[in-house]
Symmetry: C2
Subunit: 154 residues, 2 copies
DNA sequence: CCTATTTAAATGCAAATGCATGTAATTGGA
DNA sequence: TCCAATTACATGCATTTGCATTTAAATAGG
């Protein structure tokens, strides 16, 4: 038999929670704004292009993208439609699985990704890199990593 | 005369950026899901109710809420409409400034905030508190605080 | 081999969001 | 005092998102 206490957070937890929300919002806003100012599509496009580019010639299935990018199924579906319509990727039916599709990056897609990185990279540097020392960045990464660890059950 | 280098992020910066995005997404999703599962409105409602409650009898102006919560002007405007329609706050015209309104929490609003906290608190504890030691939480908070510091110009 | 279940992806519809603009009150010159 | 600029807030419209459902293909069980 178990007693389980629905423990309330202490001040250090509340503070960490709040700062996490604020810091992420700030950093993300900065990056999204930089992309938009430069006339580029949203960050999500970059993430897709990067993964699809990494997948190489054989491409990647939508469902695998979905898992990598942690987006809902309909989110990926519609995102791919837009990126395809813009000519940066192509979707071709999978030979093995008729339900599936292989997504491949196009030449202009590769180009767009590269040009976006020229804005995205410095924006990350401004939002995160230059605010912390290398050792602080490692510490931060380690602590955030712990937060991402599998949720304690129930 | 200045030379300015658009520096690219190193691996530690990229890692910190990525983890920040992931960890925040995880934590926020967990909390939002907990609230939704319990039949409560989104987190933003809580934030509003808390600030309005803190403001006490005299209330708080929409624009002050806007600054505290870092939401766009139209976001606050519509959010307040919904929360008011649900009966948790009341908006009354300001005596001093005819453009402005004083927002005050209602009894049921106070009650809702308290009931939400019973879910929100433990959810934060699960998402953040129990994953880190108190000293780690303090370190994390400090590092995130640095990220929120004013942006380096241009 | 045939049907029930599961899986991959698309989509209709309603709600939420972003952007630009509108309205009304206040402030700040000249 | 009068009018232009600013400030506080609301809202129309287009886009995006979330949810539930649909379609079509693959798999599993008998």
């Amino acid at each position: 038999m178990y007693f389980f206490t629905m423990t309330m957070p202490d001040e250090t937890t509340e503070a960490a929670w709040t700062k996490l929300m604020r810091a992420q919002d700030r950093a993300l806003s900065h990056v999204e704004a930089a992309l938009k100012d430069a006339g580029f599509p949203p960050l999500a496009w970059y993430d897709v292009l990067l993964e699809v580019e990494r997948a190489g010639k054989s491409g990647i299935r939508a469902i695998d993208l979905q898992q990598k990018l942690l987006l809902p199924q309909y989110g990926i579906s519609r995102l791919l439609s837009k990126i395809e319509a813009a000519g940066y990727i192509s979707r071709q039916l999978s030979a093995e699985d008729g339900r599936s599709q292989e997504i491949v990056i196009t030449a202009t897609g590769r180009q767009l990704r590269r040009r976006m990185w020229a804005v995205y990279g410095p924006a990350i540097e401004q939002a995160v890199g230059c605010k912390l020392t290398p050792s602080e960045r490692k510490t931060l990464t380690g602590l955030l990593e712990k937060l991402t660890s599998p949720p304690a059950d129930t």
